[in-house]
Amino acid sequence: MPINDLTQTGASAGRAGFLLIVATSICILIFGWGLGSETAIRIRPEFAAMVPSTAILFLLLSAALWAFARSPRPNNGKKALLVISSAVALAALIDLVLVVAGIGTGLDAVLWPGLLQRLTDGMAVATATCFLLASLCALRLAFDATSIDYPFASMSTLGLVLSSTALVAYALDTEALYGVFLFTAMALHTALAFAILFLGLILVAPGRSWMGLLLSQKEGSRGARRLLPLMLFGPFLLCLIALYATDAGFLSVNFRLSVLAIVMTLIAVTAVLRNASIENTAEDDMQNIVNDLTAALADRSLLLREVYHRVKNNLQQVNAMLTIERGKLTDPEAKASYEAMAGRVHALGMVHQLLIQASNPSDIDIPNFFHRLIKSISAGHGLKSRNISISVEAEDDIVHLDVAMSLGLLVNELVANAIEHAFEGREAGRILVTYGNAGPDAMLLTVRDDGIGLDDENDLGTGSIIVRSLIKQLRGEMRVVTDEGTAISVVFPSTLSEVSRYV
């Protein structure tokens, strides 16, 4: 539950409530049962009394809760809370058993019978039940909760409902309250104290119950807070008015029920409709945001493809200029150099072409790429007439465009080298490009020919600086094997695609 000003205020209020109960119970014990003040004990002569056991249990439980709730790291408070809550729960249970079994009026009749003045004085069943609920909630408080604590939420809410029922009954018809066995002997201040106690429990741990929903800063919670006073007090006030209206003769007793039913239904339906309106607006806002995002994403893809298109065009222009310059040269070695350059530029251009067509504008499908590259190289060098064939066997793999650029240039270099040097004096030849897994995190690229082989590794020609640079770029290692031709292998990490250089 994110902490905000409201939750802080709520927690302070809860703690203040605990303290209030502590103070009140002390007063009742001292002034009421100690010094004999009837007002302290039962407020009005015809009301039930808060017996000493009740006051003592209130005192203990509230004190423990206050001590636990006020320290941010409640380790000492935790032990005290556990002990006291258990004791209170036990006492409440004993009283319940005694009352239900008919042994006097509960604990007080057993512990200090001389103090009690009336036959009905004792801890009411509802009181004992509330103490049970409150102490169980306190026990749960002692243990951390990261989300809704259903036992805590249901018990504290039930306690709040019970005490509120008693309070409302006191307001509307006290005699009727005492007619209910559950509530006989629950004093007015007992009911009030329980309401404060349960409210306090809920407030100091808002994340465990529906209180979190009320205290959040989000739109829904704000709306709920606006509506809350009306929904909380509306029905009660309505019933109060109906009561007075009946007593004053304006309303018959039975018609009163119809009026109450209709008015409460109206209030409820209004609240429901208002909620629906809020949710609809929220949904519209959400849809607008989603639309904006989708459009932005589409724009980005479009932009990238445009950029790739321009780069591809630029590279074609470079190739054009290289070809024009080549036309001016006469030296065959120089001409070969320019041709080699054109091949490299073409390989880069091909990556961009594939990126434009790809569904994800930053990934390249390797088998597709290599096949097209080889086709282009074959055509460019007129290999059919020279009886040299090139084939590709590539495992399915999709790599980041940076990796594809390095791989494409590397394949271009190695294949061009093979075409250039491997088949001197031969009638025909074969070149094979393979690409695939070579272990858990490694990929293997091999360019193999069945030509005349190499004298030593350094015989790769002027392309070798480029080849070595490309291999370093791939963080790879090269191996050359001469056996019925030449096989040049490069091993590089397969995780390369996950790390983009140009962040």
Binding site: S469, R501, Y502
Partner: protein, 120 residues
């Protein structure tokens, strides 16, 4: 000054690093070494003590060229650092200026740009 200028190149694109090496050599400078990552670069520069460093800003990791430059300048404040960057945007330039650079070059770099930056 007849003494050849000594340079260390810090660049994570190996082809571009080779281009810089060749271009510097053609200008008459001596390239002492190539580094592609921050830790490697700091170690190499510490050992070789070049007069100049061609420092690529983006090195593809958590630390960038400016971090390397600041690390070097605490040991050798006299080394002239020529920053090389593909971005001329204010945030990048501001970041580079944190380390009082000798020069800032925007990619693509021509041999003329380089000659100028190295004082040829």
């Amino acid at each position: 000054m007849s003494e050849a200028k000594s340079i260390v190149i810090v660049e994570d694109d190996f082809l571009i690093a080779e281009y810089l090496r060749v271009t510097c050599s053609e200008l008459g400078a001596e390239v002492l070494g190539l580094a592609s990552q921050p830790a490697e670069a700091i170690e190499m520069i510490r050992q070789m003590k070049p007069g100049y460093v061609l420092m690529d800003v983006r090195l593809g990791g958590k630390r960038d060229g400016v971090d390397v430059a600041m690390a070097i300048h605490t040991i050798n404040p006299d080394i002239k650092i020529v920053f090389v960057t593909g971005s001329s945007e204010p945030p990048t330039i501001d970041r580079i200026n944190m380390d009082h650079p000798h020069r800032i070059l925007i990619k693509p770099i021509s041999p003329g740009d380089l000659a100028d930056a190295l004082g040829y």
